[in-house]
Point group: C2
Chain length 348, copies 2
Amino acid sequence: MSSSRQRVPLAETESPYFVGVDVGGTNIKIGVVDDQARPVAYDSLPTEIEKGPEDATGRIAKVIDSLLDEAGVDPAKVDGVGLGTPGIQDVPTGMLVRPHNLKGWDDFPIRDRLAEHTHWPVTFANDANAAAFGEYWAGSGRGRNSMLLLTLGTGIGGGIIIEDRTIDGEHSLGGECGHIVIDISDRARDCPCGGVGHLEAYASATALVKFAQEAIAAGRSTSLKARTAAGESMTPLLIAEEANQGDVLARELIFDTTRYLGVGIASFVHVIDPDAIVLGGAMTFGRNSTALGREFLQHVREETVKQVLHVLADKLTIDYAILGSDAGFIGAAGLARVASRERRANGC
Amino acid sequence: MSSSRQRVPLAETESPYFVGVDVGGTNIKIGVVDDQARPVAYDSLPTEIEKGPEDATGRIAKVIDSLLDEAGVDPAKVDGVGLGTPGIQDVPTGMLVRPHNLKGWDDFPIRDRLAEHTHWPVTFANDANAAAFGEYWAGSGRGRNSMLLLTLGTGIGGGIIIEDRTIDGEHSLGGECGHIVIDISDRARDCPCGGVGHLEAYASATALVKFAQEAIAAGRSTSLKARTAAGESMTPLLIAEEANQGDVLARELIFDTTRYLGVGIASFVHVIDPDAIVLGGAMTFGRNSTALGREFLQHVREETVKQVLHVLADKLTIDYAILGSDAGFIGAAGLARVASRERRANGC
């Protein structure tokens, strides 16, 4: 598996390339990215969890070689690999600890194994932090000093970047932003994590679907009822469709979400005061390409302003993510680039 | 005012000293601190706000000279000054913008004026962040990789340190931890800042006093009633005294506070995952020197564990601050030390 080739160090004058790898529960995305954050080659391979992490690591290395060949990039011009994986992980030691979406990959030294397979230094990150770095380097947060990415999907993920660094946290759990507490009342909602009153229980896709089901059970009149009675699944997309058709409840549920997000974002702002807040994931309703998406963002901004310190009210930047599912591998490559620059600054 | 003397650069081999300055609304604390965080000379002077910031800056410079003389420290062995001031400020430019407790000191370039008066490079910080750095360098957070200091007083202040750096935030408002939202219910309490449901409205000294007054107004039986009827002011100290005498309401109010703090700390943990959380300020009830203080801390820990992700439950470190009001100037000196090391690493 491991070849015996040696990587030749890059000369100072050459413009380097970086490889980004984003390991998910279904697919592994791999891209070769240039020094200006442009992907020059890209591939996606099935994770095939059941074959285990050693097999996957070997396949990743082979795909990297193919991509470089395809793009006509001399491997000597590649100055590092970035790797993002789901938690629970241990970033400093490069270990998968108990990754939620990668059953059986526990306690695997994925960073060092990938380094052995590829012969490049590998920079390791949480996948949400890698995606945040992608938006920070090349997406909606480009040119900002610091950024928070909130990914609004089945759950709520977060990634924080401050001046080129991911906030990994002491236990590699920095940016678990879905689990801040926003409701201490008796009616606080249960979070899938076991906690109570967490943001994720109010503003994720899962929460929106539950709110809709509860409203129907409580006898609210809504066109959602006919569609789900006809066998369709309750999803954020279905709720958005009915909101667009003028269903009052569907609109109400979607815009209630913006109130919870505003509260959560205000809290994040008061802790880390980032230069930009970026929203991604399915719960963004088509983003700026739809009227509903644009209206949703406007409401999030207004709800956040209601809760932040007055001095910050006109200083907030809240926008949608723009890189989609490419953010992970681009960000991983970007983190490899930061590590490369640090090695060079230290004369390595 | 500014003298014409030149500061002689320190030789690599010499063990340097640093000066820390902590500007408050009543007093300015100044200390000379050695490379191991030990204060070797200390003084406090009245702020005399009405004389303005230029006058204060000149007086600070004179006190620094006296302190060095008193301690027998050669000024050539001092490698920088650290300065902490209350917000609103602009850390990158070293400006006081509209400091809450320093009326009339708006828009003053305090960092650069102090540098001109002292001829040393001045490192500027928010006072809460400087205090956090003090506990991180020399106090309860010593040896930790990252730390959050929560100061529980009239309000709730915060300071975040990650690997030798203060999290200043893009608008110099990082660590405004009292203003995270913990209650979105209809009964959420008003925060002095104008927001609703903020932690400060539940777990500050001001909040505790309000809760006590409301309980008495609602007809709750308590020994607090007789004491305030006799003309004493309702304060955390008074409530603590009655709690120690076995008053049921007083104990209930104090331990309710730990529930709110647990919720808040869990949120901070899920955003930045710090290596240690340190609690300071008046709302710590004598800290580890009293039974009530020890019980309070134990409750805070238990309430936090209830709300954090399970994987973190046995990994949290929550302790009391130990430097008291010295944390500010020691931390400011520590930040000057970090800046000094960076200058040397960069060959300056």
